[in-house]
């Protein structure tokens, strides 16, 4: 009898432990967090493309110091160092270089006062105000002429422009104390609006993906543990789910041709040793006939591809192509092997774009780690 009673208590306690820990590992793009990721930042002055970023402090009373990192995912030609997207960009008529993927980070620090929103254009950056012009894009509370609640200010804040134009990469911001040590202050939320102004204005907007800190778990080292044992922040999802139109299909509302760009970035990154994360992604693609296709591809640092370019160079033969899948819409489930992943999707209707956050399901058992310099 006593043995049965103890078994009951132990079993219930174990159940409680499982239920309690599982609740914490749910990242979100609709709640304030201590670590926010913007998976897709793009700037191209020649093409009229830039990204307008916002970052806000949700605290009513306390300012927040933030340490941010632009991560440059541009590839460069080995012969002249220019930015490239494929090998053909590296040929000068006589010789050709190789288009080699790159990854390096530029970091900066800012301070945001209570409830203050800040915003900047990625290609321009942001500094303290230099004039009294209310339309000047700048940090408004300089701590000299203007102070915020409790004397807080944006003093010491400066955001550089992205390091290259054209630029493709991501941005990561983590709440820190005044010594630069990460803290469990879940007060940050942000948005990114990708704007294309080359042939008429087009705007697609997404929410930054937030990793909430676990209360009391963030230590003072430079390694941010996402999920798993000894988690300091929520973990990356087990599966990502994207509802999408198949490539090349006609928009049911407008007859425009629809293509979708899927941007993925690994959760683990070593910013100290400049080693990007990596994952092999398994794609399961379901059409409206409940038929399933699959493919896989490795993601290093950042992957920004049209769906039809994931599995082939011939888009008409892609499993993401409407002509191959056979229906207008599909569901794609992405399971990473290696590091976890987050991402966003950008839907292109001819020249118009719309961005949206992709869905998550489940929690990874393994931790992802971000190592800060």
């Amino acid at each position: 009898m006593r043995q049965i009673k103890w078994t009951g208590w132990v079993g219930a306690a174990a159940l409680t432990l499982v239920a309690g820990t599982a609740a914490q590992a749910q990242i979100a793009s609709d709640r304030a967090a201590a670590l926010v990721n913007y998976p897709y930042i793009v700037v191209d002055g020649d093409e009229g493309v830039d990204t307008v970023l916002t970052l806000s402090n949700a605290s009513h009373t306390d300012p927040v110091d933030v340490h941010c990192f632009y991560e440059n995912a541009n590839s460069h030609c080995t012969n002249d160092g220019t930015v490239c997207t494929d090998g053909s960009d590296c040929c000068d008529g006589l010789t050709c270089g190789l288009c080699v993927p790159g990854w390096n980070e530029t970091d900066f620090n800012i301070r945001i006062t209570p409830l203050q929103p800040i915003a900047w254009v990625a290609g321009d950056g942001l500094t303290l105000c230099t004039t009294d012009d209310p339309d000047e894009r700048c940090f408004k509370i300089d701590g000299v002429d203007r102070t915020g609640i409790g004397g807080s200010s944006n003093a010491g804040s400066r955001i550089p422009p992205v390091p290259e134009d054209p630029f493709v990469g991501l941005l990561k911001c983590v709440a820190v104390d005044d010594a630069g040590t990460p803290i469990d202050s879940n007060v940050l939320h942000g948005t990114a609006a990708i704007e294309d102004d080359i042939e008429g204005l087009s705007v697609g907007k997404y929410n930054a993906v937030g990793f909430r800190a676990v209360d009391g778990a963030v230590n003072d080292d430079n390694e941010l543990v996402l999920g798993g044992d000894n988690a300091e922040y929520e973990g990356c999802p087990n599966v990502l789910i994207v509802n999408h139109f198949f490539e090349g299909v006609d928009d049911p509302a407008s007859e425009a041709t629809i293509n979708t760009r899927l941007v993925l970035t690994p959760c683990s990154q070593d910013l100290l040793r400049q080693a990007p994360g990596s994952a092999v992604v398994q794609y399961l693609v379901y059409n409206e006939f409940e038929q399933r296709f699959s493919t896989s591809r490795t993601v290093n640092c950042q992957q920004s591809l049209l769906l039809s370019a994931i599995d082939t160079t011939q888009e008409d033969r892609s499993i993401f192509s409407a002509g191959v899948s056979g229906t207008v819409t599909g569901q794609t489930r992405l399971t990473p092997i290696g590091d976890g992943l987050i991402g966003v999707a950008i839907e292109e209707h001819d020249e118009e774009v719309a961005a949206f956050n992709i869905h998550f399901q489940g929690d990874r058992a393994e931790s992802d780690v971000i190592v800060l310099p």
């Binding site: 306690a13 916002t54 705007v203 379901y286 819409t329």
Partner: protein
């Protein structure tokens, strides 16, 4: 006595486990849920909406859906006590096989037609090909309102399966495109499958099991442009609107719910302003319509807007945002899912006519 103590211990531990696991009680925009809410669904001749819904499970899923028409009784006149929203609803059922995605164009609906031709490599025009989810009716002309889909079992009883996700794509003038994720309300194990869906709150006469679904959020947060602000990259003028629906809805009595919303607005100078408005049934409001001083003459380009239901108001609310950009080269729109904080003590109740459950 020993058996009783053992059972009490199990019950207590399970209760602790439930409390620990119920830590996040808000709507979600990127996880599967049991109730999907699309607050902004329009098909008014200028705009149309494509709804995408997916079953994320390996079993068949049923859903009972409601279109709620929030258009004014007299569309050409301003809203007021003598010109309330129509608040008429049309309901229908859909069934999705395992992992099946589906879609429909709101103005046209979707018929059950096994002869729809699939897309081919030579023909990408294949509207409605696939396993039809059921007969989805078209909305009435000049429809501006909401779509709500509730996961049910085969008998029609509400079910906390948490298998539904969705998106809405709004196309304006056949050109501008905006997209938002459907708002998901996660169900829990307390769902008794009756006609009253309890969103948050404690046990009561209407909700004998207490909360059956997550509660509506206490606060919604929108960071974006002050109304009429100049966008810093293109120089476009930006107007922001929000589309609001109450969390509490009674499809049995067809009486629309009103909710009074308090706005707290903070600009880039950390200066704060406030405003309020009342929404009945459904409303798409430009920020300048709510309060031109708080949202237009606020002194900075960007603002953080926090919205909450007023104390004593009968319902929470759900909201999506939309930004309209206008420059010399043309126009653009972008939808935004807002951030959420906290949960209403609730409950909010969604009441379904009882005969729609027993099938």
């Amino acid at each position: 006595m020993r058996r009783q103590r053992g059972r009490v211990g199990l019950m207590a531990a399970a209760l602790v486990g439930f409390i620990a696991s119920g830590a996040v009680a808000e709507v979600v925009t990127e996880r599967s849920a049991s109730i999907l809410v699309f607050p902004k669904v329009v098909a008014d001749g200028t705009r149309d909406t494509v709804i995408q819904i997916t079953n994320t499970s390996n079993s068949m899923v049923h859903a009972h859906c409601f279109y709620t028409n929030g258009a004014l009784t007299f569309p050409d006149l301003p809203a007021g006590p003598n010109n309330p929203p129509l608040w008429t609803e049309i309901d229908f059922d859909i069934w999705l096989t395992k992992q099946q995605p589906t879609y429909w164009l709101v103005s046209e609906g979707r018929l059950v037609d096994p002869d729809d031709d699939p897309c081919t490599q030579s023909d990408s025009s294949c509207d409605n090909s696939g396993i039809d989810p059921g007969r989805v009716p078209p909305v009435v002309g000049d429809f501006t309102g909401e779509l709500k889909c509730i996961e049910v079992d085969p008998s029609g009883a509400p079910l906390s399966g948490n298998h539904l996700k969705g998106e809405a794509t709004i196309v304006t003038d056949g050109d501008e495109v905006e997209k938002y994720n459907g708002l998901g309300i996660i169900g829990n194990e307390n769902n008794n499958g009756d006609a009253v869906l309890c969103l948050g709150g404690a046990a009561s006469a209407s909700c004998p099991n207490g909360a059956e679904y997550n509660a509506c959020p206490q606060t919604w947060v929108l960071t974006g442009y002050a109304d009429g602000a100049t966008e810093p990259y293109s120089g476009a003028t930006v107007d922001t609107s929000i589309t609001v629906v109450p969390c509490t809805e009674n499809f049995e009595t067809q009486v629309p719910t009103s909710v009074t919303i308090q706005f707290g607005v903070t600009n880039e100078f950390e200066q704060s302003f406030s405003a309020s408005t009342t929404v009945t049934c459904w409303a798409e409001l430009g920020l300048d319509e709510i309060n031109p001083v708080a949202f237009s003459q606020i002194g900075s380009t960007f603002i953080q807007t926090r919205m909450r239901p007023s104390a004593g108001t009968a319902s929470g609310f759900m909201v999506v945002g939309s930004e309209s950009y206008d420059d010399d080269d043309g126009e653009a729109t972008a939808s935004v899912n807002l951030f959420v904080e906290g949960e209403r003590t609730g409950p909010d109740l969604i009441t379904i006519p009882a005969e729609q459950i027993v099938q």
